[in-house]
Symmetry: D2
Subunit: 309 residues, 4 copies
């Protein structure tokens, strides 16, 4: 359990977990197992499954627009689901829905929210006071700017350089919270002789490594799209770890759809028309070079990397 | 039960209803009661609740971004939900989701699908053969064109005029299905000496009173928007009856949110700035006429109707 | 020009084309050339470009969030746009928008509308009377049901079978319009002794090969998604011809983005992780069979077809 | 012109403004006048219109699905547009589209992005280095927490309290940028003896009063929805000033639709069914009290405020 949960919050979660009721809806035992639990991510963040509906069978049922459970055999379900995934027949996957409670740094939240096909309720810092919780990268994530990729990381910082960076992030964060508290001038230790600043203004001094939290609800098709972009190796590490935690959730929830997603979206690749022509020539035993390929240098390099050559 | 369900379909539904499993998710007993059942609409249509998640408490929980159940007292929940509805804080209502199986005439489906914030899987007439099921208005719905509203109905047709219209609709529908079947030339009674036409082509002769069906999934906020437009008195009767059936479903599912919706959206009204100025003058005892009001004749007439004057 | 335009409509279009005004907005000469013109599709349908904004440079400008025109050299623009397309950085393509006026059969409209990320205004048959215009397939499109693909076409119908089908479609369509007119009982030839049926009801007897029309507005990214699905060989012919007409429009509008789209989406392919492993083994000279591949028979067959083996 | 534009940016804007080309598309002279210009908002922010299509006539044209310009008389257009607005026939308003370049503090951007029905390209702080530009409230905006509204402002801070707050915000912001620059360790004054931190990490120390910028594209209907929420008196001042700037833009662009929007959405009000019943009783001369009204105290108070009683 992440230390970020207070005893009271932990008790609320346990109380919710202790309750059960009978339902006619499809249930997924493997997902019920972890329902409401905070799955830790980063230093203070988490992902909690708050609700869900649908399962692998619901995807089949929707594809068939059937009255009952869809096909009878698991192997038929698997073939159909893989076929749907392969041919981007995406609507049946939209028939499964999940609701998560996520705690995450603001700069991660700002990338995350770019996915518009989801429902969001965020904790309001206009209304409430934020806790003193901010993200500090672990030493194995403290990397220099990449020299080859303008939006990526390169070598790890080491020794005094790492220490200097960590200290600077921590000190600035601590200072920011002190200013925030001083501006608010609320609660214990408040100075009754002066008015505090409105919450909606005071919050502006907190850096984007501050933790926020939200309820986030999305269907499985759009979740797969989110994961394919945010679990990708080009995504920033700090959002990728959330995407990875959610992939594990999906594996529990819809294992067949999850497997198809991993095969077709995560470990698969898209090949362009000219790239496909190159592959065919290579398979025919031709010795193709970049110059003969019709591909730009960059496209050629990416294709060769994909093919492991 | 509508006659449109075959014995086999009815059995599938009963089998699904007979199964129960424990869940940690919130459940709504009043909705579980009717889960999977076909609620009849029009002559062969229905609405079936296939899945749901969330309840009134989930709206509160999302508005508070809380770990447990939100507020403790029902009266607090009610006040908060009404406040959210009144001030169009719509995102917490998006945290409830429902999936329906709907059977409906194509011309109704074409109005329905204009609501884009929903997920849909429709029965495919490219892939499958449609049944011989078409909508014929009941006698009390067979109305003449309205003389005052270009998109509305006026007086009922009576006697021979009504009979003539009903017969014409029924005969054309029957003829169309005969042509469809003849074009397909499949199954029992098929003529082996000639090829049938592809299903994706043959279907084009069926009129838009033909029944189709789909799985339709939507969140409560967008459902309210759908209902406010389609349960409105300006909506065509044939879609309004579906909207009314769904309002009953929502009443079972989220009774507090349903009540707020009825009060603020269905029985309430929007008043323009100039209209509000008129109301204030009237309340002050002034005798306002259309000419003095700044409203056009039509706006004035609509306002007076709203005020029951 | 399609015969479906009346002289009056044609005159309105010519009048609109005759007007020009200076603008500071980016303009695309090749698209202005065909602006407002009806590009014929099927027997009575068309696509007309009614408005547009953005061009290839606007994609670059948005990707750079720049104050002026983005990069200076065309070759840089091309590399950037291809990079964006390759890596599914789709948001800059959303900065171009187009508005079309489309006339199309109802059964095509029903497939088309499934793309939700567009704006639509459809001609209302509740409000207005539909013309006598319906789609009849050309002889080279009158095909039997495919025996291998449940949602596809097989061999062409020939001789008397074709004639029989065409006649049946035409006769049913003519009958339907006669019933529709009789039910309406409006205008010339109306029988004053009996009331007509409301338009919103009478329309229900018209088959789905009836032509409707709408204004349809979409951004370039979502248009590409639409085209990738509807210009695909698995799409029904009757919608594919619209998609093809729009591809030509996009080629005039954003030629660089169009080329990237054709290379990466239309002629390219998606390969699964297991499929990629097979390609690598084949490239390494290994003789892989389906049994050794880890792919199902169907996945294997599709991969071999893609690779032209 | 806001001081936030560099001379180079200003020159790019002027160069873009200097270019004109003829177009067949509808143009709006009043909007062309300010095209590309930065309209200043807050201390360093702005709104710039980068592109647009459609005008009041396009709304009418879409509502009519017409070939030419829609109705002929301005007064007819006005009546139709007001009718559409009054009855929430929103789709014709979606046929106008606008693209803005906006510079705004991150905490404002986070509220803004909650409107999902828009397209966005934001300046990337993973890729680029942010300028030293942060928001500091003007003295007349430095307010205490409201004592009656948990998410609002109360009395202005004065004298030393105001000074203390301003100084604290400015100092923390300056400190944060110093840490950011030190972490990056790039460019002039960089220390070659140590590696800098990756941009995507270093940025996390910047507070949410930092300015970011984006291209933002939206249709007129969804823009009205955005404005009705963000120009509302309950919205935070710092986003309201952007909404107000955009209202002026819309007034230039689609003056008739703008007027209807102001009358029906901005100065108008929604009345609940029980509230409407109260108004009717008051108009009938009855002396209604809260207790007799069926309204809660809060609902009653809000209604009386609306009615100016």
């Amino acid at each position: 359990m992440p230390s970020s949960l207070s005893a009271e919050q932990q008790a609320e979660i346990e109380a919710a977990r202790a309750q059960q009721a009978p339902t006619r809806r499809p249930t997924v035992a493997a997902l019920e197992e972890i329902l409401f639990q905070a799955l830790p991510v980063l230093d203070h963040g988490f992902v909690r499954v708050v609700d869900y509906f649908g399962d692998d069978a619901a995807i089949v049922q929707a594809a068939r627009v059937s009255y009952g459970k869809g096909t009878k055999k698991i192997s038929d379900d698997r073939n159909l689901i893989r076929y749907l995934m392969r041919h981007r027949h995406s609507t049946p996957f939209e028939m499964c829905e999940i609701k998560l409670h996520v705690k995450l740094p603001i700069f991660v939240a700002r990338q995350w929210i770019r996915h518009r096909t989801a429902n969001v309720n965020e904790y309001s810092a206009r209304y409430s006071i934020l806790d003193r919780e901010f993200y500090v990268p672990a030493p194995d994530q403290l990397a220099a700017q990449s020299t080859t990729n303008r939006q990526g990381r390169g070598d790890l910082l080491e020794g005094s350089a790492a220490e200097r960076a960590l200290n600077a992030i921590e000190k600035l964060s601590a200072d920011a919270y002190a200013v925030y508290s001083d501006l608010l001038n609320e609660g214990e230790g408040a100075d009754p002789s002066r008015p505090g600043l409105a919450r909606e203004l005071a919050r502006m001094v907190l850096p984007t490594n501050w933790y926020t939290q939200w309820y986030w609800k999305i269907d499985l098709n759009n979740l797969f799209h989110f994961l394919s972009l945010r679990a990708d190796s080009h995504a920033q590490y700090e959002i990728r770890v959330y995407a990875d935690a959610i992939r594990d959730v999906v594996k529990r929830w819809c294992p067949i759809a999850h497997e198809a997603f991993e095969d077709y979206r995560m470990t698969g690749t898209a090949v362009s028309g000219p790239g496909l022509a190159v592959i065919k020539r290579l398979l025919a035993g031709e010795n193709v070079t970049q110059e003969q390929s019709g591909l730009s240098k960059r496209e050629w390099a990416e294709l060769m990397e994909t093919l492991g050559r």
